[in-house]
């Protein structure tokens, strides 16, 4: 049980001439909320895609729950809840169809919890996904990512462009997830005040390289209690 949930060792990835990730190493133990912060194009989404097995490591290795997510996608993905930045839920599905479809993949799906989330998110089961607002789509995505109580919840810029009410829902979901003992949340965001509210460990990434990775309390202590915003600007720089 002490094995890290995410173990990345010297991961490098390039797209043409651009190096998106440069010898990134990261080890996240089980339990807790990990904030991944960086400017646009810093490599956050590329890193998350490697964790999900959507990208294959060019060099280095990625292990999730001790498994290779590319070689063994079923074993890895069935334990991960993922909310995509792209919010690409199939627009033709109704909310109840999305729930029915999603629960087939996860033996641990909790119907009662799903219904509780649906009601608290005020999602009409007969509404088509494409007719939902951006915030409602995010809530629907969050519902199907949480309802089977995944061991690892990966949120890629979940609250980008959303109103404060939806952001509150997402943060609430993160807090509920970590309330379940032993579960892990990886949370990438531009909104550093949000990360500051929920993360207990922060990783800063700049141009494909990790520039800082430490418990939030240690980071703040070593920067004389400055806000995460100030620390981010000083370490990562405005240009990213």
């Amino acid at each position: 049980m002490n094995d890290p949930v995410i173990a990345i060792d010297r991961l490098t990835r390039s797209f043409g001439a651009k190096t998106a990730l440069n010898a990134v190493s990261l080890s996240l133990p089980r339990g807790g909320v990990y904030g991944l912060v960086g400017a646009n194009g810093a490599g956050k989404t590329t890193l998350i895609k490697h964790i999900l097995g959507l990208l294959q490591a060019e060099s280095g290795s990625v292990r999730i729950f001790g498994l290779d997510p590319v070689a063994d996608p079923v074993a890895v993905l069935s334990r991960i809840g993922y909310l995509s930045e792209e919010n690409d839920l199939p627009g033709w599905m109704r909310v109840d169809e999305l729930i029915r479809y999603s629960r087939a993949f996860y033996p641990g799906w909790d119907d009662r919890f799903a219904e509780e989330l649906r009601q608290s998110f005020d999602l009409d089961p007969s509404a088509q996904i494409k007719t939902l607002s951006k915030g409602q789509k995010s809530r629907a995505g969050l519902l199907v990512a949480l309802a089977y109580r995944p061991e690892l919840l990966v949120l890629d810029e979940p609250s980008s462009g959303l109103d404060p009410i939806v952001r509150r829902d997402i943060l609430g979901a993160v807090i509920r997830t970590i309330a379940d003992e032993g579960r892990t949340v990886l949370f990438s965001s531009h909104l550093l005040d949000e990360v500051e509210q929920v993360a207990d460990h922060v990783t800063m990434i700049r141009q494909g390289t990790i520039v800082m990775s430490a418990p939030l309390a240690d980071i703040k202590a070593s920067h004389q209690g400055r806000s995460l915003d100030d620390i981010f600007v000083s370490r990562v720089g405005a240009q990213g």
Binding site: L52, L55, V76, L77, I80, D88, F105, D111, S126, A127
Partner: protein
């Protein structure tokens, strides 16, 4: 670009410039081939096989233009909302102009296409075909399709029904008019006034869509809001859920396409007169291959993982993060395609006999079947018909899934190159066929060497199959048990076809090992088995 008209022309022209250029080039090349191979003076008859090489791409272009100018390539035809692209609603352009320019450019393109084809048919092939009304009718069909597909509807599927009903009614009227030798001027007088009517309805449809009007006449949907989620029955397995996903996404496309085209084809029996048995066979063959041709259109959407993704051929994160292997995702597509093909053929076998019986064309077909039964005996005749129908069903399925190994790579250059190669090969097919049919030396060479050609194809297919199986095994995309099962199923299918061929073709002229090679070539393997490799390379880039 200083006017909405120029902007629309640029958008429609740029996106589809290849087909707009390729088709006239193809028709021109076909005319040159006719002049060089058949001779400038010789008149090509309508039932001549050469005509087919002009009609097939022309029909393809007709449906392609309909899809392009009605924006049907990216829309959900069965859905309730308008398929008019919502991104255009924010342009600072009056609603009438939004509807007008796609209609004007579409109508003009359609008329040019048919006028060009008519001129070529008359001048190059010497055929006596009417000039004006086919071009106007093509423009009218497009205008009605645009008006009716841009309209928001209150029920799912109603768009397809409404469009089919109106188009069949126009088609039936024109065909009846031809049967009664109505003058072309009267036909034109019937068709032309429909263009402003269709335009008026299209403006109304786009205006409603722009205001966001989507009526809901479904009692089921309104009652659905009160349902608790837990009431919905669970899927028995992830495979069932994925099959449901694929069926809802793609499964109904092919039956819908065939349902739209089949009535037009059946009406041809009433036009041409079933006195000519060649015409009856021509139309019957066209009807029988329709599902396979339409499957080629439907197949292009099956490879698209998600039209809402940035790259339509890329795998969306939603699909890519399903906890299923790539082989299981492919299995759901293959199963969906099979049931889609079965549904299509059930539709065909229900509607086509009714149309053929009503037209009186059945006498030609029954006569042919009776003569065949007398010649080869009842059991062989039954087996042959079953083989033909089974072959058509399997071919429809194969057409739906055979290009998955290309489309699912997500690499646009692979998809476009393969499309270009197919187009070039198809273009060469006509002249090659004509050359072979006229050259006795070529025919003799083909007859002497066909076993060698089949052997070469057999060797290529076997090598490709082994390569794919090795890759699947090495990358662990399919378990060893599944791999063995796949191979066993394929071997059983080959053995069954081989046994049937040996029983049916009872002649010492063809050695049994050659029949085995033919059976091996007929049952698909390598391309289907390569689909998980393509998806895996796209899913885990």
């Amino acid at each position: 670009m200083r006017s909405p008209a120029a902007a629309f022309r640029w958008e429609l022209g740029t996106r589809h410039r290849w087909i707009l250029v390729a088709l006239p080039v193809y028709l021109l090349a076909l005319s040159i081939v006719k002049w060089l191979v058949i001779g400038p003076e010789e008149i090509v008859a309508f039932e001549d096989e050469f005509t087919g090489f002009g009609l097939v791409p022309l029909s393809f272009a007709f449906f392609y233009f309909i899809a392009v100018f009605s924006f049907g390539l990216n829309g959900d035809l069965a859905g309730r909302p308008s398929i008019f692209p919502s991104r255009l609603f924010t342009l600072p352009v009056p609603t009438n102009e939004l509807a007008r320019w796609p209609m004007v450019y579409g109508g003009a393109s359609m008329m040019l296409l048919f006028l060009g084809a008519t001129v070529l048919a008359r001048l190059a092939l010497g055929m006596k075909v009417p000039v004006l009304w086919p071009a106007i009718m093509a423009a009218v069909v497009l205008a009605w399709t645009q008006a009716l597909t841009w309209m928001p509807y209150g029920l799912r599927g109603m768009r397809v029904l409404a469009a089919t009903a109106v188009l069949v009614a126009i088609d039936a009227f024109v065909i009846t008019a031809i049967n009664f030798d109505i003058p072309e001027a009267l036909l034109v007088a019937f068709l032309v006034p429909q263009l402003p009517i269709a335009y008026w309805i299209a403006c109304h449809a786009v205006a409603r869509a722009r205001r966001g009007v989507v009526p809901d006449w479904s009692l089921f949907n309104r009652a659905g809001s009160a349902r608790a989620v837990s009431i919905a029955a669970a899927f028995a397995s992830p495979a069932r859920a994925q099959f449901w996903f694929e069926w809802r996404r793609h499964g109904r496309s092919l039956p819908s396409l065939v349902a739209m085209v089949l009535p037009f084809e059946l009406l041809l029996f009433f036009v041409g007169g079933y006195g000519s048995k060649y015409f009856v066979w021509f139309v019957t063959t066209a009807i029988l291959v329709t599902p396979i041709v339409m499957a080629a259109f439907a197949a292009s959407t099956i490879s698209k993982a998600n039209p809402f993704a940035r790259e339509a051929y890329g795998v969306s994160p939603f699909l890519a993060t399903r906890p299923m292997t790539s082989a299981e995702l492919i299995a759901a597509k293959l199963k969906m395609a099979w049931w889609s093909a079965v549904a299509t053929w059930l539709l065909m076998l229900t509607l086509a006999p009714i149309g053929i019986r009503w037209s009186g064309a059945d006498s030609v077909l029954i006569d042919a079947i009776q003569r065949m039964t007398t010649a080869v005996g009842m059991p062989r005749a039954i087996v042959l018909i079953a083989l033909i129908l089974g072959g058509l069903l399997v071919s429809t399925w194969v057409m739906l899934v055979q290009s998955l190994y290309l489309g699912l790579t997500g690499r646009l250059w692979i998809i476009r190159t393969s499309g270009f190669v197919v187009f070039v090969l198809f273009s060469l097919l006509g002249p090659a066929f004509r050359w072979f049919s006229r050259s006795t030396d070529a025919e003799r060479w083909l007859w002497d060497n066909w076993p060698a050609l089949v052997a070469v194809l057999f060797a290529i297919k076997t090598a490709a199959g082994l390569l794919v199986v090795t890759r699947l095994h090495r990358r662990r995309l399919v378990t060893d048990e599944r791999l063995l099962l796949m191979t066993a199923v394929w071997l059983v299918a080959v053995a069954a076809l081989y046994s049937t061929l040996v029983w049916w073709i009872d002649t010492p002229l063809i050695a049994h090992y050659r029949l085995l090679m033919i059976a091996t070539l007929a049952i698909p393997f390598a391309r289907l088995a390569a689909a998980p490799l393509a998806l895996a390379s796209n899913r885990h880039r």
